[in-house]
Amino acid sequence: MNFRSMISARLFRFNAWDSPWLNIKFLLGGGTVLLVLLIGWLGPVVWDTDMAYTGSAPLNLPPMWSEGGTYDHPLGTESNGRDMLAQLIVGTPSSLKIGFLAATIGLLIGLVFGSVAGYMGGWWDHIIRTISDAAMTIPSLVVLIVIASFVHMTDTTTMALILALFAWPGPTRMVRSQVLTLRERGYVRMANLSGASAWEIMFVEMAPNMLPWLAASLTGGISAAILGATGLEALGLGPTRVPSLGLIINQATTNAALVRGMIWWWLPPILILMVIFIGFFLMTTGLDEIANPKLRQFKASGNRSRSKTKRSKPVSVPVTPADGPILSLDVHNLHVHYFTPRGEIIATNGVTLGVRKGEIMGLVGESGCGKTTVAMAILQVVQSPGRIVQGEIKINGRDLIGLSEKALRNLRWRELALIPQGAMNALNPVTRIREQMGDAILAHERPGRIELEERILKLLKDVGLPERAISMYPHELSGGMKQRVCIAMAIALNPDVIIADEPTSALDVVVQRVVAQTLLDVKDRLDISMVMISHDMGLLAQVVDRMAIMYAGNLVEVAPVVSAYEKPLHPYTQLLIESIPSIKSRKPLNVTEGLTHDLRNPPPGCIFQYRCKFVEPKCRDQRPSLVEIEQDHLVACWLY
């Protein structure tokens, strides 16, 4: 199976009930538009449409349900004696036809221009984007009106062609940005390397992924074109021989139908148009949601989840020795589950972890093992659809779960701070460092203006940043500097516990050392307890006091750093330690066989059983618990 066919296999595997295309708005809108189309298809069958052109009926007849109305003209007639129902039957499909034709032409032009701009880049991109931006700014109706005053628009096709003039910039922008995004994706790069031509890549690899975007662009374009056409018709500048919805509105308004109370003249075309516009609008927003999963998944009031957490009953999970020093941070039997449409994912499964005062605890594990979820749970910011199902998180003995929103806000940053992965996007891009550091302080204390400034300057100095950094914006700082701003911010209120979530991982090696050193200095000076999440074993070895190794939502080993590295007990820890490359003894990289189990459905026995070299029958059906094997060294394995 080559790479290409793998892609298509993935693309066309279609699970009907799982499909994002089953979007309620999209289906509802599509159904509405189809219903309106039926008027055009079935209307001429059941009704004599000739009456739309020849005014042979009595003039100004009200609809049949009003006084004076007849069954011959159910929706009444207008001032020229033309039948309203017949006019609507003729006018409705013509509006849709103009819209569809203009939008399709616009989309095709946009597809070509957008792909060229996005794929070729450089000058092509520059020219196409500049022109389409300018074209988008021009008020289309002004130009259309001027054109219409010169060119006598006799038929709908001419009208559609003229409207297409303004239907291409939108799709061009959309296609360009999609191509730019998709171009960076792995499989497109692969296709590129495998020697596919540019056109092949554009239309075979990229087009299917852009389908919802293209569809949204088409439905949006159709309603824009119908709007333009109706506008011209309503001004009396469209085709005047054939009835159209806009023309009916024009004749109604110019014949004072509003004043004369002839509501049956002007309202029906408006209602039909509104139904058409609402139909396309629903389709477009539905398609936007299909194309952009973030919009779909957004659920409001996400933090109500906190209140539902059950207090954990005292379970017989071995805790860090009770006779040890007082714990600054005490996580007990933490269960966090993600309630996804595909099932309940168990992200952490009874994690119990204590951090002593002034200690750095390293938390390691592979991607997806739940270490970041632990951090988010400690900070009480588990994102929806995740929820802390059970557990306790104590800072200096006080449980955070169940604290009121206000009490929690009060405690935040003063007792519990975060050092995020600052090199990326942790700082607000539009405010200066002064304000970002200042608002953390001001949320909890009330220093004067000058005192605040001095405090921020001192903090910056503490992490080795120049004073001028205070009035800089994040984009003016390097990755390492941003990371140090994050550290300075974290220590601003001298917290008891700091969670450092991969604080060095996006930095280059030299900067990593500087940042790690800064962290250590700060910790020693302020006697802060810290949880440091990382997968950089080498860095952790030099920084942390103890290590907790996590696998698939469970802690498998907790040990002082020296014994963790020199005498790892759990087979998984051994694998991790072995995998640290060393220049002194080059050995073949140890590839771990097997896959992690499905997190929705953990096996009954040891969670590591599928990848463990030493697996025994006992491991298959009994879960080992975390027990202290040696002094301060805990492991969850049946080998000991």
């Binding site: 500049t130 021009i138 109706l141 130009v143 010169f150 006598h152 009031s301 910011v381 539009v430 909890h444």
Partner: protein
């Protein structure tokens, strides 16, 4: 450091000029690509309406010569730009001794007033609604109420305007339905005139605001949702900031930037839509004047007003572009904002 740099200024100035050039050129060339010419089309239309025009061949020939329509296209194009730069579009055809610009200029303040109020209101209200819709802490009852404001989002302004005229002006008789002010008030800075102008503007403004704010709201909702997932938004929560501060300084402050860009891109559409609103309400702004000039076959006024409207659109976008660096400090570093 933020602020306006020379490079950015020149880039936006170029866009401004390009938009005007493109718009005016479209207006010039597209009609001329089609068979026929404005004078013949005009005479034809008159003869369609009235059945017969005496000496139509002669009239066409004279008028074509008068406007130089027999000259080569490039000569005409050159003269066209000469007219635009000197603001001299010639005499109005319908009201002969009057200059075209004398008809055009009085319409300008009405449109500028109507549109700036309507645009500001619809953007402000729409963005507020959208921001609240895209925020996790918005109270539940608001989350249910807010989307109803999108009901009219897809309906063209003018159609909503017709319904408003019928219901509010004719049935309820609360507000006037046509014009910018009543005939019997004395134009000037007096209270009677001001209230009269306001009462005439309410329906057109409301038609535009109610139908256009949904678009801003939807866009803003999407932008807020993406900001919700940003690291800095999470950090703001962890810092223990008040929800209001997180909402404004971290949420809205970031999400509004693309919304302002979208506003600049949407101004053309707004101005297009307002033409029909002015037509429906017989509001004496540029849109209505454009319509009138077409109906009265006033070729020179059409040219003048169409170019003016393109200029106004481009100028408003340019103005927004110049203000943009004030709210986005990164602007001088990123080459392409749009």
């Amino acid at each position: 450091m933020g602020g306006l740099t020379r490079g950015y200024f020149l880039q936006r100035l170029f866009m401004f000029l390009l938009t005007i050039w493109l718009g005016s050129t479209l207006i010039f060339f597209i009609p001329r690509l089609a068979p026929g010419d404005p004078i013949s089309a005009m005479v034809n239309r008159i003869s369609l309406d009235q059945g017969y025009v005496e000496n139509s061949e002669q009239i066409i020939a004279v008028w074509k010569a008068r406007f130089g329509l027999d000259d080569p296209l490039w000569v005409q194009y050159f003269r066209y730009w000469q007219n635009i730069f000197s603001l001299d579009f010639g005499y109005s055809l319908a009201r002969f001794p009057t200059q075209a610009w004398e008809i055009v200029l009085p319409a300008l303040p009405w449109s500028v007033g109507l549109l700036s109020v309507a645009t500001f209101l619809s953007f402000f209200v729409g963005v507020t609604i959208g921001a609240l819709m895209g925020w996790r802490l918005t109270p539940r009852w608001l989350q249910i109420i807010l989307p109803t404001s999108l009901t009219f989002a897809s309906i063209p302004y003018f159609m909503f305007g017709i319904v408003m005229i019928y219901v509010v002006a004719f049935q309820l008789g609360w507000l006037p339905s046509t014009g910018a002010y009543s005939r019997w008030v004395n134009p000037g800075w007096n209270w009677a005139f001001i209230t009269d102008v306001v009462s005439h503007a309410i329906l057109p403004v409301v038609s535009i605001v109610l139908t256009s704010m949904g678009g801003w709201a939807l866009g803003m909702r999407g932008l807020m949702i993406s900001v919700n997932n940003e690291d800095y938004f999470l950090l703001a929560q962890v810092k223990g900031l008040s929800p209001a501060r997180i909402f404004f300084r971290y949420g809205v402050r970031n999400a509004i930037l693309p919304a302002v860009t979208a506003l600049a891109m949407g101004l053309g559409g707004l101005i297009s839509g307002s033409i029909l609103v002015e037509f429906i309400f017989a509001y004496p702004g540029t849109g209505y004047t454009l319509y009138e000039s077409i109906i009265t076959q006033d070729y020179t006024v059409t040219q003048a007003i169409a170019n003016l409207m393109i200029f106004i659109t481009a100028a408003s976008v340019f103005l927004l572009d110049l203000l943009y660096p004030l709210i986005d400090p990164r602007i001088t570093y990123r080459q392409n904002v749009r």
